[in-house]
Amino acid sequence: MTLERRRFSAMGSTVEIITVGGRRSGVIDAAVARVHDLERRWSRFVESSEVSALNRLAGATVRLSDDTLLLVELARRAWHETGGRFDPTVLRAVEAAGYTDSFDRLGSTVSRPPADERAIGACHAIEVDRRAGSVRLPSGGGFDPGGIGKGLAADLVSHELSTGGVDGGCVNLGGDLRVWGVGPRDGGWRVGLGARTIELTDVGVATSGTRRRTWQVDGEAVHHLIDPTTSRPSTSGPDTITVIAGSAWRAETSATALSATAGDDVAALAERWGVRAILR
């Protein structure tokens, strides 16, 4: 059975796309292009992206592409389903923690910009008009696609590959991944989680951790996972947590939410949300 694999950099991460079988050539190349396309639309570090425009124009109604509308809609839904533990409006807190540029350009020590915590926790105030194709953020607010963007991109690209005639595949954006169909050696897909490997099929997997994407601010080590209840980098959650869910966007938002959750509550919340959580 034909096996194709691509590794490249996008969305601040290493991306890996693997396809098994397939009836047409060029499908995997289209998938690579599609990842770059989504990065151009969603990155908050790309001045011309739709998300950058949305944040610059907070308070105004902004017409967006279908992809970006979907991103905002699902982020809002994840906020609702996790009881606010996943919150895409923490952008100003992320920036206040010093995460103001793409991580590969950030450096190990950054100065802390003035905190602007307006509209954090105001996800309910995001207005989405699907008929008009528009979104309005609350004035002063910001939308952070981190914590959902890579997972949703994995889902969208996987769907396009699956409808493009591929028999099985894996789209892995920096650890946030979707696998479906047959794996490279028949059966399912073997996904490495540190020292162990698990076999899965037709699921999304995401891992969040406080040991990566860390930097120093005023001599203090900080990381990118914001606790929406404090608007500060979380201190109560597990170091590393992997979530397996029906889709990658849900796995990623759940992992982000649980990364700011005290260990005792993780299992109960995961069960309530219908996902599997693995503390590492």
């Binding site: 279908d66 889902d155 897909w189 698990i198 891992t207 219908g274």
Partner: protein
């Protein structure tokens, strides 16, 4: 049916070979000023807009895909002792 919004969708659908699953409209507006005078220094304006509207089947397929499997249970996760095909680590 909502109005289409961006050309990438059309490219995507075409790349996926879903010709029967999309309604493709190509609107090419060629504005030529046949009366253009020597004093007119404006080039002819050509605007091409490619719109695509996925049909209900494709919309339904994507919605189902984004929902994924229902609640996961333990028997859906098997620990195996073989090399991994891919890995999930914090990024």
């Amino acid at each position: 049916m909502s109005q289409p919004r961006h050309p990438a969708l059309a490219a995507r659908i075409l790349a996926a070979g879903l010709s029967t699953a999309a309604v493709l409209g190509i609107v090419a507006v060629l504005a030529r000023d046949s009366q253009r005078s020597a004093r007119d220094d404006q080039d002819p304006v050509v605007e091409i807009r490619v719109d695509a509207v996925p049909d209900d089947e494709l919309r339904s397929s994507l919605a189902e895909w984004l929902e994924g499997r229902p609640a996961l249970t333990d028997d859906w996760v098997d620990v195996v002792d073989v090399p991994a095909d891919t890995a999930s680590e914090p990024s």
